[in-house]
């Protein structure tokens, strides 16, 4: 479990509201506990995933949370600044040009520029080195939800198809190569045992495959294990309300089973996370989820 890090980038995605941030936070925390240098990288999320670990929400600057666990929230304006400064190197020119509100409005209009600079920053962290070794063992990205995730991750390939050769095309080439390298990048799809999230996960898997990004694991959040046997339900027949309660539980457990089966079509192991019966996540429950996830990802984290 959790040895030999060849995986350098974990991309966590899925339908909105299925628990992507929770999964990203839990995996990042669990990996850091195994002694890795981990960057929890959020994408313009307001720093939500970091907050789930009990720290103040992540901001646009790298911040050490504890031990070897760091986080950052990649935001368009700051990512743009870094991107531009890497190219023109003159802060004064940057300020004169790119902090002019009119120019900003203009830049906002360039297709995919915001996505390019944000994805570029995420991937730049993956390539970053310090004293001759990668600065981060693993970058865990809390990626946007389905539709936006495909746009986001597909940006380099779209740019390569549409752009004339030049600066942005060169950027796009290294970004694409890093994303499609199966040894380096692993995509994780988070789902719930409900109809729409399952359908959307299957569509997302197909979309990722079209980008040559295979799904390495599926996380089924809020899974319910079977509790009531058929004979239990029979025995409850004289108590219709209790019977329907037990039936509802059995139906929920069956939906979990069906979900595991249907998500199997994505061709990756399905890791189940148990449903938690509490109002808010505390640190202990995030840690327990992280441990389960690492066990489920055994072999490549």
């Amino acid at each position: 479990m959790a040895q030999l890090p060849r995986t350098r980038l974990l991309v966590i995605t899925g339908k909105g509201g299925v628990g992507k941030s929770t999964v990203a936070a839990a995996v990042a925390e669990a990996l850091a506990r195994t002694g890795k240098r981990v960057l929890l990288c959020e994408v313009n999320s307001g720093g939500r995933a970091t907050a789930l670990l009990g720290f103040p929400a992540a901001g646009p600057e790298l911040r050490r949370l504890e031990g070897e666990l760091w986080s950052v929230d990649v935001r368009p304006a700051e990512a743009m600044r870094e991107y531009v400064l890497k190219r023109i190197r003159v802060e004064r020119v940057y300020r004169a040009l790119f902090e002019n509100p009119l120019v900003r409005a203009f830049l906002r209009f360039i297709p995919s520029l915001a996505e390019t600079v944000m994805l570029g920053k995420v991937l730049w962290h993956v390539r970053d080195t310090e004293a001759g070794r990668p600065r981060w063992d693993v970058v865990v990205t809390d990626a946007p939800a389905t539709g936006h995730a495909l746009t986001f991750l597909g940006v380099p390939q779209v740019l390569l198809k549409t752009l004339p050769p030049g600066t942005m095309a060169e950027e796009a080439t290294w970004m694409r190569d890093l994303l499609v390298d199966q040894d380096v990048t692993k995509a994780v799809v988070v789902a719930l045992p409900e109809e729409l999230p399952i359908l959307e996960s299957l569509e997302l898997g197909a979309g990722l495959r079209a980008l040559h990004l295979d799904v390495s694991a599926v996380v089924l959040n809020q899974a319910t294990e079977p509790r009531f046997l058929p004979e239990d339900l029979t025995a409850l027949a004289p108590f219709p309300r209790l019977e329907s309660l037990a039936q509802a539980h059995a139906d929920t457990a069956r939906r979990t089973e069906e979900a595991v089966h249907r998500l199997g079509a994505l061709g990756a192991p399905v890791v189940k996370l148990p449903r938690l019966y509490q109002g808010t996540m505390d640190r202990a429950s995030v840690e327990a989820l992280g441990q389960r996830l690492l066990n489920g990802f055994a072999g490549w984290t």
Binding site: V18, L97, L102, R108, I110, P111, L163, Q278, T280
Partner: protein, 382 residues
Amino acid sequence: MTPLVEALRTRGVVVCVGPGGVGKTTLAAALALQGAALGRKSLVCTIDPARRLASALGLSELGNVARPIPASELRAAGIHLKAPVEAMMLDMKQSWDELIARSASPEQRERILANRFYQSLSSALAGSQEYIALEKLWELHSAGAQDLLVLDTPPTAQALDFLDAPARVMDFFGSDTAKWLLTPALRGTKVGLRLFGLGGNLISRALSRVVGGQTLSDLATFLLAMSGMNEGFRERAQAVRALLASEETVVVLVTGPAAERREEAVRFHQSLREQGLHIAAVVVNQVHADVDVEDVSAAGRLPEPLRGKLERTLSEAHALAVADAENLQRLRAAVAPTPLLSVPRFPGDVHDLSALWRAGAYLVPDTSPGEDRPPAARAEGA
């Protein structure tokens, strides 16, 4: 009468806003059904409905055309309405094309439609999806073919993304930015963008290095093509904004019961109010119902292992209900005096007409005689 019922009876537009994944589209459709039940010809305009919801509404494809929800489907679901109800799925690209077709000269139109920048407009310009949804709303409202329009909106984390859309689009096309950038081009100078003239070669080289020279010149061509449309855009955007703020329109904020959603909903509500919009209700969808004490004692009298299994199941359900109730209470206090309505979580998925009808009954608690509605419907804070 709650403000929401009053709106369904007398206003022309209900806009449903909120984050993704909380059942906003479902509730928008449920509200249109309720509007029709109150005798008003209603239309629900959705952005991106789930396939099963789309088919329940009789929508098999996009196309910007309102289609009646089949009467046979309504009958089969046991729903009897006093007025027809229609549904429509918004096609972003087609809506933009129609807008250009209306606002541009034929020659201008060709150039715009063929431009690469135009083709990625809906993703490139922040707020363009929201803008075109509102634009469509204005058009439908002006056409006046329905009494009540219910608009589902793209999921936005911040209310401002949605409300600012007309202003942002207007600013870009109709105001200083475009004019400033385009002035030399409009005067017929060779170089399309003032940027090239400003500060000399250093700046233009810097910009080219960042986005590429070809990209800059494509963009200049596009802006030039769009520039003649500024006035049309400005007028439309102003009309859209006026409709949103008018007495004709109410907003319904839809959210979920989870604690993580609460702050987001409060912020959302705050900005809606600051914008002077009329908020008819905050709707919390998919709320867990509490267990019945009788069930708890009945379970306690059963033999093991049944007793243990049921007690565990009941205590889990109770824990979820307690957490939701606490969140609801805090949310209600934070959004007062806006009424807060809660819609329970239904077992399974809510994607057929009868489930939409059931959900709607929690939004419109007035029981009309002869109609089959659950008695448990409750309105709070009204």
